[in-house]
Subunit: 395 residues, 2 copies
């Protein structure tokens, strides 16, 4: 009897999580010992409820659509598993003759991956992690599939909003970016710039305590200089005490709900400076946009899926596929994959290092931009800037 | 001496306002008596400050980029003109030998257009309006350039967010759409649907008083049925008294500032129903997105620019280019342009008629969808829905 594969998605979707699923299917078709590739419908809960769907039953033309499908085509969950859940899984895997379990997700899912590995290691079932998170906060890997597309989305969106604000420079515009603890996506908005003076004019990251006084000083100065100011702020900005800058709007026993950082900062600008301000919060669009999917990200996501299955078949287990960037003579972008021990990955959340943030904490450094640029794919479209031409022409 | 053309942009940009500018330039190249096509840099203020830029100096390859440039490439303004400003304009037009003045904008700009026409009519200067607004609220025309792209953006964004919410159905997601007085863009989110149960699940328009009790009933019921609920709400929702549902956050002598409707409704759902809710407010992206520009909209915008210049050269003045939809035997989309007297256009703002809104006021009718569909361009991409397949497969 041939062996089966199980793919499980965990946590929030990205624009390329389905591309990794496609990568698994592509590899499975190359491997004669693989019979079925099951998807656990609805994430880890799908394992316990034995909601399995064999994906190889679909024709290639349908599977190819996965490369352009937002969200997760097989569902996901944030279900918190108990120890008894983990133990129950081994029997379920055996019942379906599942020999290779691939978990695609972020830090929470890699933790689950490590625990499933523990319960499976004596049963000959191999467990491999596929990294996925727009937040880019997984340790040891240079970056994670999903980040490049979220970065491309925020850069393009900031460029478009920047063009709009520049063409009628009457207000301060605050864009909220995803990433509550790590500022990678927020920082990537800097890729919107083509020349000095382009949006974003200020960038605020969760890695630095938010200083209201300095913020208002910076906004006031830039508004006087340019009229229109574009700011990108992380949804997770915190004050010096490490508390969210937005006061909680509601608390239940299970959770605390906060308002939007962008709306909070816009209100601050209106009230304290008397300057017209508005908030833009693309929110979930930032991880679901297929229009701004990065082709580099998509290809790496496919690779991660393929490499994960190949590793499991070759006998690896308790590892995650990581991306290692290579030094090249001409500075061009090159990377390879490595299998990282899941135990080490599980240890910490990766935030933006200090050398990627300016001293004043209101922008990123050129080192960050250099690191980030290849991940978002082809250069953003050249916008025609007749206004700029006009200035040159008159002087 | 040959005659010159002046193009002026007014009010907020759209994804295709630069396409109309391109249409003017295209037509100008065909007309031997046209020498220069000036742009008034920064809108109507640019006329008074004589900030004119000759656009025909640029090579065609650069001008073609206008078709894909967000915002307005020559600036815009919301500057309120005084009677003396209008009178000063005639001399300025004569100084630059401007014989054709084309104003591209929404209702406010068409008002300006009518007033400039009044002061110019005895001076042999012809004034023609090019309609432009994502709000689609200009009278007498079937629709306005700019709307089709904003409609495509909100439909695509709602479909992507809908896919995300469906793949992890744990919350209520409220998307805020632009259009403070007219619900055309909000309504267009219905184009995201491919089958029953698809997002958006509820649509709230500014044309109907917002009923909090019915809203909460509807959200509760849908959350129980589906887990994830996607709602699209206009930024301008009002209560029975005609007041904005969001209390003002700040008042100055000049203006009143309101918070975001989406955040307000999300807070309502959290507090009153205890259900996790989040707000998404793409805001300015909704009018600046080139990725979701509708090709139908772009072509009509080019046409509007060309027709406007042609009309002026043929001796027309005090008119706006309007779009008239034709009845066709096979129901296919066909329209032609007509020159509408600007005096009649100036008279009223066009809102969504009753027959486009359902009785309960929480959705649009199939008549609206039929009317809107051709404007957004090619059908939105088919998303793969394996979750749906799974349900079919198990039953």
């Amino acid at each position: 009897m041939a062996d089966n594969v199980l793919v499980v998605h965990g946590g929030g979707p990205t624009a390329v999580i389905n591309s990794s699923l496609y990568g698994v299917l592509k590899e499975a078709k190359r491997q004669p010992q693989v019979d079925k590739v099951y998807a656990a419908i609805g994430g880890s809960e799908g394992i316990l409820k034995e909601r399995f769907l064999d994906l190889l039953q679909y024709p290639e033309e349908k599977l190819k659509l996965l490369l352009k499908t937002p969200a997760t085509a097989i569902g996901s969950s944030r279900y918190a598993l108990e120890q008894e859940d983990y133990e129950a899984m081994v029997g379920i895997f055996q019942k379906y003759n599942i020999k290779y379990v691939l978990l695609n997700g972020g830090n929470g899912t890699m933790d689950t991956c490590g625990r499933i590995y523990e319960v499976c290691k004596d049963a000959g079932i191999r467990v491999v992690g596929i990294p996925k998170t727009i937040d880019n906060d997984i340790a040891l890997t240079d970056h994670t599939p999903g980040f490049g597309s979220a970065a491309r989305y925020i850069a393009a969106t900031t460029a478009e909003i920047g063009a709009d604000v520049k063409s009628m420079p009457i207000h301060v515009c605050i864009i909220e970016a995803m990433g509550r603890n790590a500022g990678w996506v927020t920082a990537a908005s800097a890729l919107a710039r083509k020349k000095t003076g382009d949006a974003p004019h200020l960038i605020y990251l969760p890695e630095r305590p938010f200083d209201e006084k300095e913020f208002l000083e910076d906004v006031k100065r830039l508004h006087e200089e340019m009229g229109g100011v574009v700011i990108v702020a992380s949804e997770g900005l915190k004050n010096e005490k490490g508390e969210p800058i937005v006061p909680p709007i509601f608390k239940t026993e299970r959770a605390v709900y906060y308002g939007d950082v962008s709306a909070y900062l816009a209100e601050l600008v209106i009230k304290k400076l008397g300057i017209k301000a508005r908030s833009e919060k693309p929110g979930i669009s930032g991880r679901a946009s297929i229009a701004w999917q990065s082709p580099v990200d998509r290809n790496e996501a496919i690779l991660a899926g393929s490499v994960a299955l190949k590793a499991a078949i070759e006998g690896k287990s308790g590892v995650m596929v990581g991306f290692i960037r290579e030094e090249t003579a001409d500075g061009s972008y090159k990377m390879h994959t490595e299998l990282l021990p899941i135990k080490e990955v599980m240890m910490h959340e990766r935030v933006l290092p200090d050398y990627y943030i300016t001293d004043r904490g209101n922008d990123v450094t050129s080192e960050f931009i250099e690191w980030c640029r290849p991940l978002i794919g082809p250069e953003l479209q050249e916008f025609v800037d007749f206004q700029e031409e006009y200035v040159l022409w008159r002087e």
